[in-house]
Subunit: 365 residues, 2 copies
């Protein structure tokens, strides 16, 4: 046998003096085999340093024991933490994990998915970048198990994992109102959706009584903001909404600065995700305002540093790792054959109070 070539089942079989079928059964752990032959085969395999070739196995079984993950951007802590959860669960089940990023663009998403499908993944975890059309996802869902994470897609009935964005935001804003805040600013990347502008979105939400179909998390968080205002009878002032056009720190900083400088500005800022928070932090820093004396801040999504800066930053923490774990588990169940109705897992968030929100009930500034 050629020394520098990898040993195959046939090599092992020859060495052990059995048929390839028998060697295959022993090595692959299926079918029957006697203790005697088993020892023979195992010894031969050991001697030749046999390592199974998953490729060949997959080709015939139709299962690769590999799943794909399409993230917006894996370097963001949000996706990185989710990824870790996914990876942990997959690891215990002997699954591999192929990752790609869509960069939140449909093109990238389509490209990623094709690459993954060519590699014959058994299932897909994806954070879709479009909550409306996503024709490619609907088609794919018919043949491949799929779990959505963070976001849902209208008309795509598959498993999904996320949090109650609107509810969490509503509670958060209600708390702000309860502590005396009446001018609550929001910094959000409200990705252009089916709504022309922020105003028409408000209109839509009110028309539907605060409930609406799938939409981006940031829109859902905005919806919570609206509901809290309406419930408290506090009028909405859309000039307090800083809508960031591109998903970048720099643009966020600019938008937040503008918001902070405007006359009769907000007493508190609510940021809708980690990147918005970082941009806003930079804006506050550069504007020279003191937290929480001059401006309060509360952030959706918890980040490492929020607990050890001064003041600590109040936040709504999503269980990111658990989201990943849950998604992975759901997907594996689907791959194993579970064909029950789609489930929408809503994991609870945690509200962290750390001192960046000032109680201004007795202190008009």
């Amino acid at each position: 046998m050629n020394e520098n070539r990898k040993a195959t089942i046939a090599d092992v079989a020859r060495e052990a003096g059995v048929s390839t079928a028998t060697a295959g059964r022993v090595l692959g752990g299926y079918g029957y085999s006697s203790g005697e032959k088993r020892d023979l085969v195992l010894k031969a395999a050991e001697m030749l340093g046999y390592q199974p070739n998953q490729l060949a196995r997959s080709l015939i079984t139709g299962q690769t024991r590999t799943i794909g993950f399409v993230a917006g951007d894996i370097q963001s802590p949000f996706f990185a933490k989710i990824l870790r959860g996914v990876s942990d669960v997959l690891d215990t089940q002997g699954f591999g994990l192929l990752i790609t990023n869509s960069d939140e663009a449909v093109d990238g998403e389509v490209h990623s998915i094709r690459l993954l499908m060519e590699k014959q993944i058994d299932g897909l975890i994806i954070s879709p970048c479009d909550t409306e059309g996503a024709k490619h996802l609907k088609k794919l869902a018919q043949t491949t198990p799929m779990v959505l994470i963070d976001r849902q897609v209208a008309g795509l009935d598959v498993d999904s994992v996320g949090v109650d964005n609107a509810g969490a935001a509503e509670l958060c804003v209600r708390n702000l109102i309860d502590t005396g805040h009446e001018r609550i600013g929001m910094v959000a990347e409200l990705h252009s959706g089916p709504w022309k502008d922020v105003g028409s979105f408000v209109h839509m939400v009110r028309a539907r009584g605060g409930e609406a179909g799938p939409m981006y998390p940031s829109w859902q968080r905005f919806m919570g903001y609206i509901r809290a205002h309406d419930a408290a009878g506090l009028p909405l002032d859309l000039s307090l909404i800083a809508r960031v056009n591109s998903y970048s720190i720099e643009d966020t900083k600019i938008a937040a600065k503008q918001l902070l400088r405007q006359p009769n500005g907000p007493t508190v800022l609510f940021t809708t995700d980690g990147l918005m928070t970082e941009g806003t932090m930079a804006a506050i820093f550069e504007t020279g305002l003191q937290m929480p004396e001059d401006i309060s801040l509360i952030a959706f999504d918890d980040l490492d540093w929020m607990s050890f800066v001064r003041p600590g930053i109040d936040s709504i923490a999503q269980p990111r790792r658990k989201m990943g774990e849950t998604a992975a588990r759901m997907l594996i169940e689907r791959i194993a054959g579970n064909d029950g109705p789609p489930r929408r897992e809503m994991l609870p968030v945690r509200h962290n109070e750390r001192g960046s929100v000032r109680d201004i009930r007795n202190a008009r500034r």
Copy 2:
């Protein structure tokens, strides 16, 4: 043809009225084919929604166009950023990316590698958790292209990407000395290596004139610390070295607190990586010390928040994304057949001054 089964080359060939060989040549883009037949095949493929099966292709070509990445922990910003760089380069070349984490343990590393090898990856990018033995890596390197990232392994001559840790740390500490600091604390997870204790490491470094073989980055950074002291004629005080036993924020915080509270403590802290920095930040925060009045801080590894906290944190920034990109490019070249001598890429770091280091030349506190 069965509708719900994926179309194969044979299906396309039948539909187009050509042989599977011809269809294969057109679809696979190899060998000769006439314009006429090509159109026929392409049309049939389009109609049947043909998607190639990489598995079958790989089985015969022996190339999967997939590479593996073994990180310490993908959720850490360090690895996440590197991963992004790797992913970007791979994407442009049509390569897939399988990830696993070793959790910095040899067991995990071995397990990860076996999983990856069974999936027949074409190459491996790894941040090895052992800089000494790593027998499994040496064996693997004979058959599989491999690039080391962040760390090197003694006796493993393969491509690697990293920064000049000792040099960067030395420059950093020299700057601290130049600004008047004489009691420079260090917070580091000095993973147990071939040295019994910190003292014998110092001895070894001096014996070798400040040069030594492969070791963990944190040890290299410590080496820079030693070299800067020796060059300036400043005596080393090992009581200023907080050696963290486990790689955890909590333990780091405890160790740093202890260092801060000891009599005749440091005027500045040098932290050797992101996690050390976070733990140290927490310690400073909880101790109630003011930065930079009471204590200065400079960190190895730059993190997002360092620019927008008060004061900004001075740091040594590694080009993490570029490290990933470089590693990926080197690996792809190896896979393509480059068998030149191993290269050790040393990328330049950036020193960020942001205000967390106080100049105490004229101000004894």
